[in-house]
Symmetry: C2
Subunit: 585 residues, 2 copies
């Protein structure tokens, strides 16, 4: 018992502390399958980011292990991801760092370090709630836009036409149109075959294997190793037909070895322009990781701790910076593969990382003739599902303002700039929310005959009284909506010349800020000048506790705070049966 | 009847269309009394703005008449106001326009024109709701800060010490300390006597007159003409003792005449730097005017139309620009004097404007020996009540976050810059609101024994069930709080191992945005993976109408939407009497 308690102070991950040997076979198997996906993905995303291929491998070794030791998810797989790679390419292109130049790798490491420090700071300062302000529609528009940009950036590798692979969507489409005559048919042939073969590896392959009598699970596993097979076949094709001599781009030499610890990227001068993109990488990486972790976490009733996720992802990114890599995050497809392959704990991630390390040490020569067109096909197929057309349609049907935020984010990301697009979307979502909060739903209510229920006079046949007005406010009262409520009260009061008592029903008012308290006090004295007494009814407990700290209760007098609307009517409507029933509708 | 209908299309103000001769004597009397206040105030605020004295008179002639014809308030008095004068002085000092130089007046007119156009545009585009985002505490901090700056800016005139009268509070206090030896005793004597005499004109004079048997109303009226008397006496003192030869600053020559229509200020080059201060003048002027108009409006059950107020104030400011003046707004003290003096309609304002015009035409020589120290005393006493110490204390007791917004606005305005201070305050108020909205109040509820009422398990002795969890959300669900709710659900689910049904009670949920719909769908499928079914209960009509447009209802299945919590318990708790009653507390 004491030993256990002591253990809880040593920062060992839960899964390791409670590891049972029976989990080992599953974790080993899942590690192998995940590694088979990690190696080509790592190389592909490094190329997408404009970095040397080995950087993608390095980023798949140390950072996942750091996450495994710090994170709260048992199956999240951390490493290079497509959107972060795009953000690196975009940040460095915008900042003017020359692709392939000496500073390019250093700046990518600096981006990883900065976003790592930011994530750690957010964990320490409990600022994780910041990501809540990226609404679902904005995130959907952003991801769809990023998917389009990534696909456009891979068209060059896929076709060899020599178009630009960075810049806005316009730049790239424009470049493609100008360079169309530059299509390189051998490259296009390799890219196209990779594309078709990878497509066939998905549903058709599973379908075919099942027809041959295989179980779903085994068929799915084989389909997951399909991409590796496609790459092997295409690499052999390149070698057999000397395609690289015919201009088909290949990965070429990846230096064998392991990442070495370095501080080379620490350069204060270069930091300033990279702060904003690093923040974006931190934010988006965290949102992606934590949502994947949550999806996986529920399946095993395992609690995902947001603050620990921030810290773990921050640590992983710092590790990525120090051990010669690029920014990392938890990837959706990779984590799903890990989970589906049967991973029980983060040991599977560690096994996969060790296998990647072995590949980096001994097998990099195997990737020499790997055609980049095939990697482009892998990337395009990996990000295509991120383009969330159905989600956009659902949003459009549900709420036009949310749909507008989605569309503006998407267009902003594709046509203007990634950061501008996301900032625009976030700002619009906040303004829409504030605007809506500033126009709350209000209802004049009356009594349903023979009951103590009070309903909207516009929806029900209810009793009302000439000297009494019951107004229900369906929103918390705060600075941005209190003028609207005041105007509505003035309007309602002016429309009812015999009015003596006005009751605001607060059953849906969850909070009243100080602007609203002052405004209610002012409203009460203004109404009194017109011979009308203001009352409140159905004020919630926590709201009432707080109101008692203000002078509002005194200012209302002789107005009162009634526990229920019924109590207000019994007290204020005189003979409450004298009310008038409005016409049915 | 037809004539009346036709009349309603002619833009005649309501008060004029329905004018009855019996209102005339009251309006005439009120006009005289208001003019007695307007003339010294106009001159004083022009000097505060750094403008020639006659500009203050001109701004009290045409703009009030324009407002009288367009506005919706019957008693609001529009003209030069202290805060707008400060904003003009600050904007022009920051912009580098030389005080007293040829461009200074032109730029002031441009500010009036720009804020006029902005107000008209806000009226046309229905953007009046923008002012809702200036919360009460922020406005209070801003006004208090402005009062401090105004008082500091008048210390030079009051004491003749030669300190700066613009810049931040630090600049002015620093200047005062450096120039302390420059105190000019004759000026200080005049300023000090004005200060004391004006103070005596308030409560002590009313008190004394009442002792002499006068009615409250008459005593109050006489006390209001007191300042004019003080100025007359001090002017005569200056003349008698040749104080101006001893260095006491006087108003000197005010050219006799009326404002002439001019377009001299139209200069595109100078516009750009004045846009932001003009927006501030428009916003603050409108907030001040409309709140005074509302206070007065309620007293006569007269409806203040925000959009018409925007248009009327915009028109008045355009008039101020064209007729050689400075920005105007509805002033609190002036309007209260007008109202208390018995004004029935805007005719009183027009009478006052005519009297100011007469003064500008024929009596400007009377102001030649008026000591500016006396005007400084008038300004200081007029703005001192704007320093809202009690309001700040009330805010502090009620809500620390609101108090922080107030304090930061105040400090920002005084120590940094007026615009920066206000922007900081507005931003903080919005962030605090968003942050609070992102952490809604949640309650696990149970059934009060023997009833169908459901209450917080932490506050009441209630029945709960091991297989059923009832969670009440006390806020609308939207992008910024949905993660918090999701985490709380995951936490609650993990704490109750036998859980099979989780019901979210939506009685206080007034809206669900698309982020929340998507998150609830995801939550439902995540919970199902853990063997828990998600249900909703007490969804409001408008919210349900909208949910039907989404796929959430399908995604919940077999989870249901229950009309009442009781119905959910009857269906889901099995033998609902088997529940466990929690300990009393």
């Amino acid at each position: 018992m004491k030993a256990r308690r002591l253990l809880s102070f040593i920062p060992l991950p839960n899964w390791l502390r409670a590891y049972s040997p029976e989990q080992l076979p599953d974790d080993l198997a899942a590690g192998f399958i995940t590694a088979a996906l990690l190696i080509p993905q790592g190389i592909a995303y490094a190329i997408l980011a404009g970095l040397p291929a080995e950087v993608g491998l390095y980023a798949s070794i140390v950072p996942p292990v750091v996450y495994a030791l710090l994170g709260s998810s048992r199956t999240l797989s951390v490493g290079p991801v497509s959107v972060a790679a795009l953000l690196v390419a975009d940040a460095l292109a915008t900042g003017g760092t020359v692709r392939g130049g000496a500073d390019y790798l250093v700046d990518a490491m600096l981006l990883a370090a900065l976003s790592g420090v930011m994530l750690l700071a957010m964990a320490a300062l409990r600022l994780g709630f910041l990501v809540n302000f990226i609404s679902h529609p904005v995130l959907s528009g952003f991801t769809s836009g990023a998917a389009v940009l990534i696909i456009l950036s891979q068209l060059d590798n896929l076709t060899g036409m020599g178009m630009p692979s960075t810049g806005s969507g316009f730049d790239m489409v424009g470049g493609a149109l100008r360079q169309f005559s530059g299509l390189h048919f051998p490259t296009l042939l390799v890219g196209g075959s990779a594309f078709v073969a990878l497509l066939l590896c998905k549903a058709p392959l599973v379908h075919g294997l099942r027809r041959l009598g295989m179980t779903v699970r085994r068929a799915a596993l084989i389909s997951r190793t399909g991409p590796l097979l496609v790459l092997v076949v295409l690499t052999m094709t390149v070698v057999l037909f000397d395609l690289h001599d015919h201009g088909v781009a290949i990965v070429e030499r990846i230096p064998a070895g392991l990442p070495t610890f370095t501080l080379a990227f620490l350069n204060a001068d270069r930091m300033l322009p990279l702060l904003a993109p690093a923040f974006l990488i931190a934010l988006i990486g965290y949102v992606e990781s934590v949502s994947v972790a949550k999806v996986l976490g529920y399946r095993r009733r395992e609690k995902i701790d947001s603050d620990r996720e921030l810290a773990a992802l921050g640590g992983a990114n710092l590790a990525a910076a120090f051990a010669g890599g690029m920014p990392v995050a938890g990837g959706f497809s990779r984590s799903m593969v890990n989970y589906a392959a049967g991973a029980r704990t983060q040991l599977a991630t560690i096994v996969a990382a060790l296998l990647v390390a072995l590949a980096a040490l001994f097998f990099t020569s195997a990737f020499f003739y790997l055609p980049t067109a095939a990697l482009a096909a892998i990337i395009i197929l990996a990000v295509a599902p991120l383009f969330d057309w159905r989600g956009a349609m659902r949003t459009f049907r549900y709420d036009r303002a949310d749909a507008a935020a989605l569309l503006i984010t998407f267009v902003g990301v594709v046509a203007i700039d990634i950061e501008v697009g996301l900032s625009l979307g976030v700002a619009i979502a906040i303004v829409v929310f504030l605007w809506r909060s500033s126009r709350p739903h209000l209802a004049v209510v009356g009594r349903l005959a023979g009951t103590e229920h009070y309903r909207n006079v516009e929806r029900y046949q209810v009793t009302t009284w000439p000297e009494l007005l019951l107004l229900r406010v369906d929103r918390s009262l705060f600075f941005a909506n209190v003028n609207y409520v005041e105007d509505a009260v003035a309007h309602a009061a002016a429309a009812q010349p015999e009015l003596k008592h006005l009751v605001i029903i607060c059953s849906a008012v969850n909070a009243i800020d100080h602007s609203a308290v002052e405004a209610l006090g002012q409203l009460s004295s203004n109404l009194r000048a017109a011979g009308i007494t203001l009352h409140l009814a159905e004020v919630k407990g926590p709201v009432m506790d707080r109101l008692k700290r203000s002078k509002l209760i005194e200012q209302l007098a002789p107005g009162q705070v009634f526990l229920s609307t019924q109590a207000a009517v019994e007290r204020l409507a005189g003979d409450s049966e004298q009310g008038k029933v409005n016409g049915e509708w």
